[in-house]
């Protein structure tokens, strides 16, 4: 060996991960990218966090109370939690951190997380000097008051913008790790926080290597320079077939939905029956099994399987038989005859549509498959490839008849897959890119947000999703599952459906 490069120049006791891009920022208020959020989760803490079952559990708050009207959230903060500069965390710090997110000076892209809080608007418009809804009761009690009941609020407090930071040192967190070094575009080094009270960290630290190219990361992994990588599609089957690696592949079920959106605000897809015909015309299951190598779970509707607390009704399962639609089968399976029949009945044969896609090769391949299915159903699809920013811009403005996109959870709640995506107040970049509008669905989604208990909430969400499936502004394809592979010396590595859930507490090295 001419130059020994591995694993001798690794830091002993550190675990090596890969990032595909330099994090834009590690300021919790400003983070929007996955790289930044997954690191910030290890440096900071919030009032609450998620456990393995996606339930909300205490983090810095040891307990909380929600008032009967669903408006007031009172948090009791643990004593003795301190920032890495040594100062204890008090209720005042949460007020500071949350107001900082809303402060126009911060230019935070995440203000929407707190926009349901009473007085948030007034503060943002600089009418008031503090947010009325953030109340410091005493040193260890903090209360948030909302303008109206909003059931997913606690879930939203698990996100990065809700992390606490000290006023005097805004880059000092409370987390299990401390940022030691950040070499722009090269690597970040995190060191264990020896004073962390929230549990035992088993590694000395984490090194994040910034490697933009997937294949390079795979090579680094094979050389033992990385301990865990997410397998790119191109390397998946190779590792799966390799005996040495196949047992070390872990699957990670993601909270996401991949879909074909149809512009419901203008012809031809303002016709719900035609949209439904499109859903019948495409054999999504086959595409998932062959083209997508089963790297996902079939989707029955927009809400991911892991978040759906109800079942999609199949034929004959309706509880009441009063309405015409009550008994309708909502599980849509491939049925080309039915698709043709609907198109014929609607008198829409020979229609043309433009499908917008990004210029990624796998997306283009998929688009061609969809194109051929739709052609045999009688819809001529013209594929238009665009570069990502131009693509986003075009679909935000509703220029496309059809488009291919995915939605990933910000917080684990079915609401996150209904309100932004299908409520008529969210046209365009806010999430509703199909410009779907249905008063009943709007109402049900709002009712779900306002519901005071989980049962009611799920009932409203379920009804809303049923309407959406019936009217099919989306063809929901699948919920993607990612695959990771770990080195033999890595123990206890766990995968989470949301990247901020990994606080780096489980992983350990055993050589």
């Amino acid at each position: 060996m001419l130059f020994s490069c591995s694993p001798s120049n690794r830091l002993d006791g550190y675990v090596y991960y890969r990032l595909n891009a330099n994090p834009t920022t590690l300021d919790p208020a400003l983070i929007t990218d996955v790289s930044g959020a997954s690191i910030a989760a290890k440096l900071f803490n919030g009032l609450v966090k998620l456990n393995d079952d996606l339930e909300i559990v205490p983090d810095i708050a040891e307990k909380w109370e929600v008032s009967k009207d669903g408006l007031r959230y009172r948090f009791y903060i643990k004593k003795g939690v301190s920032f890495i500069n040594g100062r204890e965390v008090k209720a005042q710090d949460f007020k500071y951190a949350f107001e900082r997110v809303l402060n126009p000076k911060t230019k935070s892209p995440n203000t929407w997380v707190f926009d349901k809080v009473e007085g948030a608007k007034e503060f943002q418009k600089r009418i008031t000097r503090e947010v009325k809804g953030f109340k410091v009761i005493d040193g260890y009690t903090f209360e948030i008051k909302l303008k109206r009941p909003f059931s997913p609020f606690l879930s939203m407090l698990t996100m990065t913008p809700a992390y606490v930071i000290p006023k005097e040192d805004i880059d000092k967190g409370t987390g299990p790790f401390i940022l030691k070094k950040w070499l722009h575009n090269r690597e970040l080094i995190l060191e264990r926080n020896e004073k962390y009270l929230g549990g035992n960290v088993k590694v000395k630290g984490i090194v994040y290597k910034i490697i933009p190219e997937d294949l390079t990361a795979v090579t680094e992994f094979e050389l033992g320079n990385l301990d865990v990588i997410s397998l790119p599609a191109s390397a998946y089957s190779k590792f799966k077939k390799d005996k040495h690696w196949s047992s070390r592949i872990i699957s990670m079920k993601g909270l996401n939905t991949y879909y074909l959106g149809m512009n419901s605000s203008r012809p031809p897809f303002d016709n719900a029956n035609l949209r439904k015909a499109v859903s019948y015309a495409i054999d999504r299951k086959k595409i998932l099994e062959t083209f997508y190598e089963n790297r996902g779970r079939p989707a029955q509707g927009p809400v991911p399987d892991l978040l759906r607390k109800w079942k999609i009704r199949e034929r004959g399962q309706g509880s009441r038989v009063n309405g015409q639609g009550e008994n309708e089968n909502l599980v849509i399976n491939y049925d080309s005859l039915k698709a043709k029949e609907i198109i014929k009945r609607e008198g829409m044969s020979g229609i043309k549509a433009k499908m917008y896609v990004t210029a990624d090769q796998d997306v283009v391949d998929l688009a061609e498959i969809i194109q051929s299915y739709l052609l045999s159903a009688g819809i001529a699809v013209d594929i238009k490839q665009l570069e990502w920013s131009a693509y986003k811009d075009a679909i935000n403005k509703g220029e496309a008849d059809m488009f291919w996109l995915s939605w990933w959870a910000d917080y684990p709640d079915a609401e996150n897959f209904l309100f932004p995506l299908f409520h008529s107040s969210n046209f365009g970049s806010a999430g509703n890119r199909t410009r779907y509008a249905n008063k009943e669905a709007d109402f049900l989604i709002e009712q779900g947000q306002n519901a005071l208990n989980e049962k009611d909430r799920n009932r409203f969400y379920r009804k809303a999703e049923e309407i959406i499936i019936k009217e099919s502004p989306w063809v929901s394809f699948w919920h993607r599952t990612d695959f990771l592979v770990t080195q033999p010396w890595i123990r206890g590595y766990k995968v989470y459906p949301i990247y901020t859930m990994d606080k780096g507490m489980d992983v350990r090295i055993e050589r």
Binding site: M1, F3, T111, I211, L215, L223
Partner: protein, 276 residues
């Protein structure tokens, strides 16, 4: 705009950012504003990271320079030597081999050859680390990937030029004078062939300094090319502008140096005001 303010930004926040960035003003005023910044040696700050663009470029430029240097150091001896040998054995087997190899070197896309180089020298033979930014060990692979097409071009240019020179009467004269073939090739041939070779080296070196996007990305080299590319993907205009202005300046500078080099290398190109 939306990527900056976030997908769910309120219209008022978008207005605020527009005002702060000055894009609510007319194009002429925006352009004048940017020129004014430039005059002060200020490239502005990145929209996303708020870092000073000039400082980032200054930090990445030495990496790109080092890469360009090593790549040139590999490409020039390899390309020129191959070209010379092929010219001396014109139409022979060696010539045909060199021709084939150089054609392949020119045709193979960098992203493919880069991956092959990595798989062979790094994964199989474990000679060099596959990626990263650091000392000379990290430089070899990306430099090699860059050097291959450059060496191929050089080999072809050298071969044609040298073959033409070998047909010249003054070569026969030199032979007739009884000069050794070594002194013929080093003094008479090389000196006459050097102008096109230097032109190609200058052009290649200039383009390396503008950043080799693909190579830098694959090998994770923290250079100007990757920085530019990231700027383009995120639509980070101060970064894009800064990189383009730097790149243009460097390219012009390298070409100027090449032109000055002509003057020293070939007396026929010397420009004397008096002669005109």
């Amino acid at each position: 705009m939306l990527s900056l303010a976030g997908e769910r930004a309120h219209p008022e926040i978008i207005e605020n950012i527009k005002k702060e960035m000055g894009i609510d003003k007319g194009f002429i005023r925006q352009y004048a504003g940017y020129l004014k910044l430039l005059m002060h040696g200020n490239f502005g700050t990145s929209y996303y990271t708020n870092r000073d663009v000039l400082k980032d470029i200054a930090a990445k430029f030495p990496n790109t320079l080092a890469l360009a240097f090593v790549a040139t150091l590999i490409a020039v001896p390899a390309g020129v030597t191959l070209g010379f040998i092929a010219a001396y054995r014109k139409d022979g087997l060696i010539d045909k081999c060199v021709n084939a190899v150089s054609l392949a070197g020119l045709s193979i896309p960098v992203f493919w050859s880069a991956i092959m180089i990595m798989l062979l020298l790094s994964l199989k033979l474990k000679l060099f680390p596959p990626s990263g930014t650091g000392d000379i060990r990290f430089l070899v692979l990306p430099a090699l990937a860059l050097a291959i097409p450059a060496a191929a071009t050089l080999a072809r240019i050298t071969r044609t030029t040298v073959a033409d020179i070998l047909k010249m009467p003054y070569i026969n004269t030199a032979k007739a004078k009884g000069l050794s073939s070594l002194s013929i090739s080093s003094v008479h041939v090389l000196k006459n062939a050097i102008i096109p070779i230097v032109t190609i080296i200058g052009l290649d070196f200039g383009s390396y300094l503008n950043g080799a996007v693909v190579t830098e990305t694959i090998f994770g080299w923290d250079g100007l090319g990757r920085f530019t590319m990231e700027g383009i993907i995120k639509r980070d205009y101060p970064v894009i502008l800064g990189c383009i202005i730097t790149g243009t300046a460097v390219f012009v500078l390298v070409n100027l140096i090449t032109d000055i080099a002509y003057h020293y290398l070939d007396p026929r190109i010397r420009l004397h005001a008096k002669d005109r």
